[in-house]
């Protein structure tokens, strides 16, 4: 089940993910931040593959890396001198945020240390693409349609909001 090669890949992906997330939250150059954000999303996609969720890995790469990163990149290029706002973060604010985050991390880690999950003994899953496709078109069709409507509404809303200021 847990081969060493799998563990090895896990730790490599985790290292890439943590490093690129660190660059995203603490880097000063906006352009580099976005590229490392893309790398972070790719590492998450790798984790999905490792968890045998191949359909989700593809959705992650197409939807996130292909869609959202490019969109953010476009917005950064549409707005000038965007890197200047990044220049200074007050150091006291950074320290307070660091300790709040550290407290949160320790608390949640403690919570799932004391929790016992009812773990399955061994797992043999069928192909996730087939199963998800069947579920989306039979038992879960209403959420699927609602998601489609939400996406349509988001497109229309985004267009109207972005056009508003131009005239």
């Amino acid at each position: 089940m847990l081969s060493t090669i799998e563990l090895f890949i896990f730790f490599i992906l985790a290292g890439i993910g943590i490093f690129s997330a660190l660059v995203v939250v603490s880097g000063k150059n906006m352009f580099h931040n976005i590229l490392f954000f893309g790398l972070f999303l790719l590492s998450i996609g790798g984790h999905f593959l490792l968890l045998k969720a191949d359909f989700l890995a593809m959705a992650q790469i197409f939807g996130y890396v292909g869609g959202i990163v490019v969109l953010i990149l476009f917005v950064v290029m549409l707005t000038r001198n965007i890197t200047e706002a990044e220049a200074e973060t007050e150091s006291t604010k950074g320290i307070v945020a660091f300790f709040i985050t550290l407290a949160l991390l320790v608390t949640i880690f403690y919570i799932f240390k004391i929790t016992t999950f009812s773990i399955l003994p061994g797992i043999v899953q069928e192909k996730s693409v087939v199963a998800i496709g069947k579920m989306l078109l039979s038992s879960r069709i209403i959420p699927f349609e609602i998601a489609a409507i939400v996406l349509l509404a988001a497109i229309v809303g985004a267009l109207s909001v972005a056009r508003e200021g131009s005239k």
């Binding site: 896990f10 985790a14 993910g17 943590i18 997330a21 660190l22 939250v25 603490s26 976005i34 954000f37 972070f40 999303l41 998450i44 984790h47 999905f48 968890l51 969720a53 359909f55 989700l56 992650q60 939807g63 959202i68 969109l71 953010i72 917005v75 549409l78 707005t79 706002a85 990044e86 604010k93 945020a97 660091f98 709040i100 985050t101 949160l104 991390l105 949640i108 799932f112 999950f117 773990i119 399955l120 003994p121 061994g122 797992i123 043999v124 899953q125 199963a131 879960r140 998601a147 939400v150 996406l151 509404a153 988001a154 497109i155 985004a158 909001v161 972005a162 508003e164 200021g165 131009s166």
Partner: protein, 105 residues
């Protein structure tokens, strides 16, 4: 069984680290787009947890389906947020969160 538990704990810890990095980014970023990217990191941490649970706790595909919907909603949210960012930039000519006080009175 033990091995699955170790693996689940590894994924939960990784998701927790990503979540906390995202929270730190939201608290310290001075740039609206940076805040947006930090929020995306938080969403990804949640997705990772959902898929790890769907693999190790319950062997059906509800967790994967859930995170598929999360991806769809995040896409919608990002598009609207970027449109708002463009509108704000047109109006105020800055994206510094310290200088934006349109809704403050």
């Amino acid at each position: 069984m033990i091995i699955n538990s170790i693996q689940l704990n590894l994924y939960l810890t990784l998701g927790l680290i990503f979540f906390c990095l995202g929270i730190y980014g939201v608290l310290t970023k001075r740039n609206l787009i940076g805040v947006l990217m930090s929020i995306e990191i938080i969403f990804n941490a949640a997705n990772l947890n959902l898929i790890a649970f769907s693999r190790f706790i319950k062997a059906n595909f509800d967790g994967q389906l859930f995170s598929l919907f999360v991806i769809a909603i995040v896409a919608a949210e990002t598009v609207v947020a970027l449109a708002i960012i463009i509108a704000v930039y047109k109006k105020k000519d800055t994206l510094d969160t310290g200088k934006l006080n349109l809704l403050k009175w």
